[in-house]
Every structure is written in C-alpha cells, then in structure tokens.
Assembly symmetry: D2
Homo-oligomer: 326 residues x 4
C-alpha cells in the first residue's frame, strides 16, 4: 500500500488519467491510484421521471470546481437499479464528456449476474469510465459466500478494460463482502481497491492491514466515518454528503493530510448528522432535497421511491441547521 | 374470501383460463381464483449458461401430467435476476405455448422500478401470462414503507392487463410486505392474492383474517409450512419442492381438502427437510441438483451462483433419503 | 409421541399429579404428559413494587375455574428476571398452595449459569413445582451452541427432582435452541417437552417429526400460532393471552380436539391481534393492563419496565375491541 | 469535554482516588476523570468452578505493574451473570484490597431490575468500588426504549454512592443504548461516561459530539477500534485484550497521546485479530486460554460456557502468532 502520511499535495495527485491507465495496463506496473474524495452523484429526473441531462450537466459544472478526485456515477445514490441498461451507459458517457479530464469517472457497473456485469463494465469503459465500481450481487445472498464472490469478481476483473473497485454496501445488499474474499481479490492486477460503506471500522482496519503487502486501496463509503477511516489507513472516501457539502468533505481530507487532527475531528463531528440524514435515515429523497437547498439540482426520485413527507423534510433541515450548515 | 372447507374437486377447478379472465375483467365480477399448487419452475441453462429451451420443454411435458393448478415462471427459483429482460419474456412465451390451457401461467414480472415493472407486466401478459407475480422492490429497503409499496403495486395493478399477485420473500429481499399494505392492496380489483414465502404463520393468518371481506387469496410460498398455512385459510402453495416432488405436494393438498389431517401431517413432516434443503439451506443449485435425481433437467446455474460442493450434495441427498424419497 | 387425534376428554387428562410423578420417576415408565393450555402468569406488584401475594391469590382463584392443564409460574411474562431468588421460590410455593392439585405447576427455573439453574430447580421442586421450565441461557449467546446447551440441560435434568421442559424464546434471548440439540435432549428420561415461543412453524413441525420416536411433547409458546401448531402435532400451548382470555384459548383447544377446524380457524383469527398486542407489540405492561380490563389484577411492572403510554393503551384496547373482545 | 490533545502525562493522571471522589461529590465540581486503559478482568475459577481468589490475586499483582488507569471488575468478560450476588461483591472487595490506591476499580453492578441494580451498586461501593459500570438491562429489550433506560439509569445514579458509567454492549444484550438517552443522561451529575462496546464508530463520534458541552467521557469498549475511537475523541478503552496484552494496549494509548499516528496505526493493526479472537470469535474461553499463554491465570469458565475445542484453540493461537505476539 502507498504511504499516506508523507507530505502530499492534492494538486499533484491530479495526474493525467491517461498516464494512470498506461501504468495500470502494464503487467508489473503500479495500479491506478484512487485516493481522494468522490461524490456518488445523484441522477436528476424530469417530472415525468426521465433522466434530465441538462440538470445533470449543471450539477457537473459545479462539481468540476471542487477539488474532488473524481465522481462515482451510479453508486447507490444514483438510483442505478431504477435505470435501464442503456440509461446507465448514457449517463456515464454524458458525465465523462462534461467533466475535466483530470477528474476520474468511476462507474457503477454491478448487476446480479456475472455475465451482465461483464457486459456493463465493457460498455461503461467504452463510454469513458476510468474505473468501474462493482457492487456485490445479493439476491441469492444465502449463496453469496467467499467462493462465489471471488469467482464473480475475478471474472469481471479479468475482462474489464478498466480497473475494478470492489463495493460492499450491506445497508442495501444485506451482504458484507467477506474479509478473506477482499484479501484474495486484492492480488488481482486489475482490482485496485474497495469502497466499504458498512462503517465497521474494525473490519476496515483489518482489511487494510491484511492487504498491506498488495497495491490495494480502501475508500470510506460515507462521510460519517471518514476521519476514523483515515486514522486506520483509508485513502479517501465516496461520500453521499459530498453531493451537498463537497468542499467541506474535501476540507476534512486536507486537514487530515496536514495532520491537523483536532480541527479535523471538529469538522468530522459536524458532518455526521447531515450525512446520516441523507443516507440511512431518509435516503436518496433526502439527498436530493438537500441538494436543492445547496444550489444543486436534486428533484424527484423514480418510483417506488417517494418524496419526503413535510415532517421528514423538517427533520432533515434540522440535521443540517443544528450543525451550522443552514 | 372463498370458503375452502366445502367439498372441492380438484378437477372442477381447472376451468378455462379464458372464463376466469372474462370474469376478472368485468367491474363487479369475481376475481381470478388462484387456489392450488404451483411449482416455481427452474430455468435450465446450457453449459455456456444460455437458456436451454429444449430442456425447459422436456420439464414442462412432465409437469403437465401433474395436477398442478399452474406454474410460476420466474419466481426466485427461476434465477430471474440473472435473465435479461428479453429472456424473461421469451421464457414466459415458451412456457405458455408448451402448457395445456387449463394450467395457469403466473409470471414473475417484478423489477426494482415501478415503470420497469409496469412494462415487464405488459410484456409478459402479451406473451401469454395469465397473471403476474410481483416481488417487492427492495434495494432501497429503508425507504420501502407501506406508502411506497402501496403506490408501487397500485400503479402496476392499474395498468396490468392480467391480475396481479403480491409476492413477499424476505429471505431474498430483506423485506416483508407490511400487513397493512397487503390489507389495503387487497381491495384493488386487479390484485387477487399474495404469495408469502416468509413462513411467519401468525402473519399469514392475520393477513387472511384481515382480508376476509375481500376477494383475496393467500398462497404459502413454501412446502415447509403448507399444512399449517391451510389450517389458517391459505388456498394453496407455490413450492420450490414441487419442481422435484410435484405429485407429493399435490397429494398434501388432496389430503387437506379431504379433511385427512392426520395423514396430511405425516406427509407434511416428510417434506420439511427436503424443502429446506432446496431452499434456505442450499438454494437454487440444490434444487437443480435434486431435479436431476428425480428425472427432470436441472443443470448449472448462471454465475455467480456456484455448483454444490460434494459435501453439500451428499447432505442434500441425505435430506431426501432420510425422509424416504431416495 | 402420543397420538393426539384419538378421541380425547379434557376432563380425563386431569389425572393426579402424584400418579404422573410416580410413572415418570420409574426408569422405563412413560414421561409426564404435559398436554393442555397454560397461562404463564403475571406477577402482581404493589405500588411499591413488592410482590402482592393477595392479588396473586385472587387471580389464582379465578384461573382455577378455567379448564387449564396448569399454570406456568415465572415464564417471561412473570417478570422473573426482576425477582430475587427467594421471591422466585416463594411465588411458586404460594401458587402451589392456592391451586387445586389436578392443575400442574410448571415453574420457570432458568438462570444464566448451570449451577444456579440446578439449585433453583431443586428449590422450586421443593416448593411444590410439578415440572420446571428452563429457558436457554443467553448472555454469551455467541458461545451457546448445541454442545454447550446440551451440556447445560443434561446437567440440569440429571439432578432435577421433577421433569424438565425446554424453553426457547428468541424474542427475549436472541437465541433459538437448535433443532439438533432438542432432538438429542428429547432422549433424556427427565426431559419431557419443549415450549417454543419463536413461532417458526416449520421448525416446530420439524422438531415434532424428529422426536416422534421419543416420549416428548411440544407446546406452542403463544396463542398467535396455536392452531397451526396443533395442525403439525403440538399438544397444547403456554399462552400469555390465556391470562386474559383463558376460556377462549381453552375453547380453541376443544374445537381442535373435536375436529372442528373451521370454527377453530375463526377463533384463531380473533386471538392473533390481542395476542400480539400483549406480547411482541407492547409487552408485559400491556398484558397487565389487559388483565385489569378482564377482571384480573395486573397493575404495575417492576422498573425498568414502564407503564403503557395513553396512546399505546388505546391501541391495545383497539386490538381487543376490533376482534370483538371488548 | 476535556481537551485530549494537549500534552498529557500518563503519570500525572494517576491522582488520588480520594481527591477525585471529593471533587465529584461536590455539587458544581468536575466529575471523575476516567480516561485511560482498563482490562475488564476475567474471574479465575477452580476446577470445581468456585472463584479462585488466590489466582485472582496473582493476576492482580501483575496488572498492578502495567500503566493501567484501573480495572473493570465484572464486565462481560468477568462472567458476572454466572456469579451469585455475594460473589460479585466479594470479588470487588478482593480486587480493591489487592490493588494500589491509584488504580481505579470500576465495578459492573448492572442487574435486570432497577432495584437490584441500585442495591448492587451500593454494595459494590461499600466494598470499595470507585465507580460502577452499569450494563443496559435487556431481557425485555422490546420495551427498553429511551424512556425506560433514562428512568433506570437516573434512579441508579441518584442513589449510587460512586459515579456511574453507562455500558452498551449489543453483542451480549441485543440492545444499543440510544444516542438520545446517552445525551440526556450525560447531564446527570453522577453519570460520568460511557463504555461503548458496539464498535459503531459513527455512533461513538456522534455521542462525543452531542455531549461535548457536558463533563462526560467515552471509553472504547474494545481494543479493535481503539485508535479510531481516539481519533474522534474517546479518552481510553476497556479492552478484553488488555488482560493478555496489557502493556501493548497501553502503548497504543501512549503513541496516540504523543501524536505518533503512524506507529499507532501499525500497532492497532496487530491488535485487531487477537482482539476479535478473544471476544466476538471465541469469547471468554478464548480470553482465558490466551491469558495462560501470556503468564496469567485463566483456567476454566463456569458452565454452560465450554472450553475451546482443539481446533478453535489452534485458530486462536494463529490469530496471535500471525500478528507477531506468539
């Protein structure tokens, strides 16, 4: 694993994606470096629940000015299970076109079957994705043991034109990618890291420990435990809250990199309740509502997701205002 | 709810599907009667994991000779999350073509989004499905409260050309369709029943009790609790084990209908372990393995589902043989 | 297992406890027959939270007139974890003294440690208990595997002067007594049955199936699934609701024994919501509140259990009145 | 909350317990400062499962030489649910007598009922406990909402002669002390902190954030997440592993206090697997086995806890040796 405690300039890590790809593809070369902060972007819809590419583009223009390492397109917050296959690819294409080349596009290509995931990964790479984020298949969770998951990810990584990032999000999938599976998969030359959204910090630390001899990086899957994740060796985060408070999440990264633990801690505190509100507590409808308050396009979700009730919207607002953000 | 204790001839309940549809579509008419036993059929694949329509047809010829009420196509055991949309529709079409007209085809049309579920329901009806079985969307399970689920099912039922059967399968979805949502949805003229696979018999009895003033039927979602479900008013079952021991599951129905509780109980006992083995314990790979033993085509699953280990296959065999089936 | 479908007179099963004990103690004799309905009685307290023996006695006088098989003293509804050891024994003594000899006193003697459970069982037997009901120890539930539980129950049964009934109540303990442990323990000459409060009817049926060659009986642990439990071979129930609707629960037993399944089903329906209300939904405070409405002494619980809120009390009342009981 | 980032000498925090008590008892004075590392000591038994006070004393002599802040007596690892009330008090008395006065004795006084907890707290204080650690009552967990728990802890704290530390250990109790209850209780003058063993670092950070205006401290309940807990403001830990690797856990504290995050991280890594092995994975029998390997008296557990199997003992050893401790 790369040392993360040396002096580190956020600016200099924005090396060209082309160079990263080149190094990654060579057999013995270093894998893609994915450190940094990523918002897993929401997908704006029109009132008729069609993808609103204009509003998406507006959001992207704003995100391009924040020192993100890149964007995750079609993580859980992107309502990807509600998009048709063609929509999933088209959204990736639009994001890649709109975004500066120095920002990574990490595209969520996970499907339930291995073959569909392979095809989706290829299509997303063709559409310009720099890496693919592959969620654990979960419908038959009783059979998704390490053996099955190692087989799945190996097949996907073998054929993917771009690096693969593992993705464990038990709140949605009811399934944790087992530690031993992660350790085994970390050896694959085309698997570069893990986004862990479960928030079990002991597990995250153990994974980092047991993959320390590999070129493998771990990203916190939420702003709620970003600082503790840094404390045990995570290299960044994919944070729903960064759709709303992007600069502030990046500031937490900077404080950590500068060794300013006390200030980082105080900032971390203020992010927890807003983060929980837009994720576990109220979900994607809340994320989209909060985006509206902070100058982004959020708007409606696709059904069956329903808009927030007024009471929930008030509670959401309170979670931001009581921490000084509204 | 229809009285289930009157003398009841299995033969006479095989009235024409056309007649049922006619009655159902009329505003004040009785809803479709779905009582009886259904195997949720497996989808055979070739070694290359393509749908094997020939083997599927072979199985259907055998199932046509068993006194099933119909078949469920693309329940959880059909690996539907691993099929492309076109494959899902094509399988339904082939089943409808191969099956005698007096057997119902209940097609699993559930998708994560409401709009995709509506479209899939329409396509399956056009392909010949007599009813659609709609699983609860579940990825954003934290937001799938009664309000969201009532909205989802109402939209689907409003537009479906054929009757809708609700489907709650918490082992796969991590979500129980709430009782109050079922009670509300039972009033919809195009929602005819519920397949409940959770096995909470108190919940099943309560649902039957609270929908007793509606024309609404409940099917047990497993052979493991079929007799207790009958004892509280269920009208049949969708039973994975019926893919393997179809006649025996139908025999349990007949014993119950004849009021032969003691013999029914002894048969029920012998079905529990084989049933658990092909569902919760070893899943679809075990179902397909057992099908091979009993003269059906089972074969491989699509990845990421893996074949049974030899040890698991032995344990599976033991669960059948210790109950006198092998 | 004893045949339960033969004509069976409730009256004749009230043979003397002395005779039962005599047969049980003899090496090859039949074990105690525990079939029937039992309320797991509540423990009345004074306003100062001391055991109110007068009110307890008043309740017992009323229970003595209901065709119960006996009473369970210090099941979960008796607040036994809140009683001092001496109180637990004294309550058993008082119940035995007040109750007619033909009614069984089954006393909850479970403690966390094996040695304490052994001592408590001996003390309760000395105080007049006819059998002891032994809950699974659960604090170290991660270590309470079949091996540990078989060891525990074997030691307790080896030394208990009266027969032992196993007790699995996962809602309180977070632990199901494993099927294989039950099957093993059923062979012990001093272990006569199981009270299963989990409500997993498939599990209950499997346990009865797999112990059918032993002299071993299963009691449903709740009125919510009493009829389905009968349908798979249970011989009675320990039902919190019987503290309130004792005659009605006994009537369900009678309807089942008379083979009147349809009437039994209708009665079963009406018991579900009141039963859930006084157990899972609102707990012991609700049971005690409902007892007051039906002419029994309920009163306060020991802290930390709190009285019902007014809103909860109204909802509780609704669960009784909407089913025609109030 | 006390600033934890200022230069801080472990030595100087060993001020006299008498002085702490004096300050705590005064109305407006600062509460007891509980920062530091504590082993929750195991209770040695003889082969006959009686408390072995000689072996206990031997262990205490060794612990007295490690820079612990104090000991927890009868946390979950002390098998307190298996001790009689008199044994619980006597063990506390022996520990207090054997230990240097500058080491705190924090005694686990939690019982299921409020009244028993009050009495036990008084007895333990009389036996010399400096503070009491009060686990959440849990048997009626469905009723243990914030209201009930706030009532319970308030009553206990009102009457306890020594400060109260809240204790949340969901692995054993199936219950998390709710955040809002902790925030409310933090205002009580006799409640000084929380031991949180759940390991949800987001929750821990949020609790520290929301109690930051109170004189209230949080201790990590495990060595597995000690460093991340420090990163969000915890002030120490009660760590089962400190029974075995006491100096090493204290070294982690020192590295953190010295701001040596990188070295702390590497040490944290090496503690995770041994910690998991003696807690969640293999439990108290493993803790006692490991104690033997490291020169302490461990020995047998009380039944129903069973000794480790040979296979488990090997796996346990591997978890220590692969991290360089054996």
């Amino acid at each position: 694993m790369l040392a993360v405690f040396r002096s580190f300039s956020t600016a200099t890590c924005r090396r060209s994606v082309a160079a990263i790809k080149k190094r990654t593809m060579a057999g013995t070369a270093q894998k893609m470096d994915i450190r940094g902060i990523y918002p897993p972007i929401a997908t704006p819809f029109t009132e008729k629940e069609e993808v609103d590419y204009q509003k998406l583009n507006d959001n992207l223009q704003k995100y391009a000015k924040i020192p993100f390492r890149g964007l995750v397109v079609q993580g859980s917050n992107g309502e990807y299970p509600y998009l048709m296959a063609e929509e999933r690819v088209e959204v990736v294409r639009r994001v890649r076109e709109a975004l500066p080349q120095n920002m990574l596009v990490m595209a969520g290509s996970g499907c339930e079957s291995t073959i569909a995931t392979i095809q989706m990964s290829e299509q997303m790479a063709a559409a310009g994705a720099d890496a693919v984020l592959v969620v654990t298949p979960c419908f038959y969770r009783g059979r998704m043991d390490s053996k099955a998951l190692i087989h799945h990810y190996t097949k996907v990584a073998d054929s993917s034109p771009v690096p693969v990032v593992l993705y464990s999000v038990p709140a949605n999938t009811g399934l944790d990618l087992p530690v031993d599976a992660v350790v085994s998969l970390a050896q694959h030359p085309n698997i570069v890291g893990l986004k862990d959204s479960g928030g079990d910090i002991t597990r995250i630390a153990l994974i980092i420990h047991k993959t320390s001899s590999e070129d493998f990086q771990v990203l916190a899957g939420s702003a709620g435990f970003l600082l503790p994740a840094y404390s045990v060796g995570a290299v960044g985060g994919v944070c729903a809250l960064a759709n709303v408070l992007g600069r502030e999440v990046c500031q937490l990264e900077e404080l950590y990199l500068a060794g300013q633990w006390e200030q980082a801690k105080v900032l971390q505190y203020r992010l927890i309740e807003p983060n929980t509100a837009v994720t576990r507590k109220f979900g994607v409808p809340a994320l989209k509502q909060a985006m509206e308050w902070f100058g982004y396009h959020g708007g409606v979700c696709r059904a069956p997701l329903r808009p927030l009730s007024e009471a929930d919207a008030r509670a959401l607002r309170q979670d931001f205002s009581s921490n000084g953000w509204l």
